[in-house]
């Protein structure tokens, strides 16, 4: 005896997804086809477990792959900022990233903006200012030396970028951190 079946792939997809998500204690909402809204953030282990479960049914979590690539961009940028040899060579960031990660800069740049709510350029500024802050707190270098070390064209340029990024001047920043330590 043969049975002939008709099925709706979307109903199947939803039922499988629901079944798997219900096995976890994650609260969620299904947002139509191909999107799930998790009501709280899950850590990478939970994500891995969920991803493995769904993989059995041919469902792949795409966002995970994207976030891995974004993480590699962030790591490369960090390495670039903290590596002084890079500063001497004065590579272009776009060349550096596309050579290192083997994707076109346009692709990396669009992906980064899509996933992180900021651009690679802005991220570099944030990361550099973060480094500047730690150097200011260490109190071993003057602001002029810090500007030179991080390849800013001048102290004025560094101060302006610091003010624009944090809303505070480097001097006020230092004063606040010093007072915090005393309290």
């Amino acid at each position: 005896m043969k049975l002939y079946l008709n099925y709706d792939i979307n109903v199947v997809y939803k039922a499988v997804l629901k079944e798997q998500l219900d096995k976890t204690d994650i609260q969620y909402e299904l947002n139509g086809i191909g999107e799930v809204n998790l009501l709280k953030n899950i850590d990478s282990n939970e994500l891995k477990t969920l991803s493995d479960q769904l993989e059995k049914y041919g469902i792949t979590i795409i966002e995970d792959y994207k976030s891995q690539l974004v993480q590699r961009i962030k790591d490369s940028v960090t390495e670039m900022i903290y590596n002084e040899e890079y500063e001497e060579k004065s590579y272009k960031v776009s060349v550096y990233l596309s050579e290192k990660l083997n994707y076109s800069y346009t692709y990396l740049s669009n992906l980064f903006s899509e996933v992180t709510y900021t651009s690679i350029e802005n991220f570099i500024i944030l990361k550099r200012i973060d480094y500047v802050k730690s150097l200011i707190i260490n109190d071993e270098l003057t602001l002029t030396e810090i500007a030179y070390k991080l390849n800013y064209s001048s102290v004025a340029h560094l101060s302006a970028q610091f003010k624009k990024t944090t809303g505070l001047t480097p001097t006020v920043f230092q004063k606040i951190i010093t007072r915090r330590k005393k309290e």
Binding site: E35, N37, L38, L39, K40, N41, L47, E63, S67, K74, T78, E114, V115, T116, Y117, T118, F123, L126, K127, D130, K133, S134, I137, T166, G167, L168, V172, F173, K175, I176, I177, R179, R180, E183
Partner: protein, 148 residues
């Protein structure tokens, strides 16, 4: 598109301010979940309950009855379990002394309340985005200070 949802809380005794804030947050294209509180006591009672989803970013009004913004900030910073919580002071005051003092007491962000809805939206969007970088990019949270 993002998997993550940013958990936000606002503590403000002024009903109109809470309403505008909520509208502004809803207009920003980010995945957020906002909880509203009328004063510092209500917020502190909430965050010390077991099994709740802790906010990642709280906006504190400075002048509130029962427990004001500064007292609330001090209580938050006394507790090590809350070290990941970013605190934004959300105030009508823009005196340098107020700003510096709240930073010294452990605030991360100081926002002068904008008097125009679009400005409020822009300021909040900037704050949410920068805060998000601090949560996802290994930036040093101890040095996170932003005045806007």
């Amino acid at each position: 598109m993002n998997l993550e949802i940013l958990q936000i809380a606002l503590v403000d005794d002024d009903e109109d301010d809470r309403f505008l804030f909520k509208e502004a947050i809803e207009d920003i294209e980010m995945n957020t979940n906002l909880s509203l509180f009328k004063n510092g006591k209500e917020f502190l009672d909430y965050i010390f309950k077991p099994d709740i989803i802790l906010p990642e970013l709280v906006f504190l009004d400075l002048n509130m009855p029962v427990i004001n913004g500064i007292q609330c900030l001090t209580e938050i910073r006394k507790n090590n379990d809350l070290s990941a919580l970013s605190v934004a002071i959300y105030s009508t005051s823009s005196s340098d002394k107020d700003i510096e003092d709240t930073f010294v007491k452990g605030a991360n962000i100081y926002i002068k309340k904008p008097n125009d809805f679009n400005k409020l939206k822009n300021v909040l969007e900037k704050v949410l985005k920068i805060n998000w970088q601090y949560f996802t990019s290994g930036l040093n949270k101890e040095n996170f200070l932003l005045k806007i």
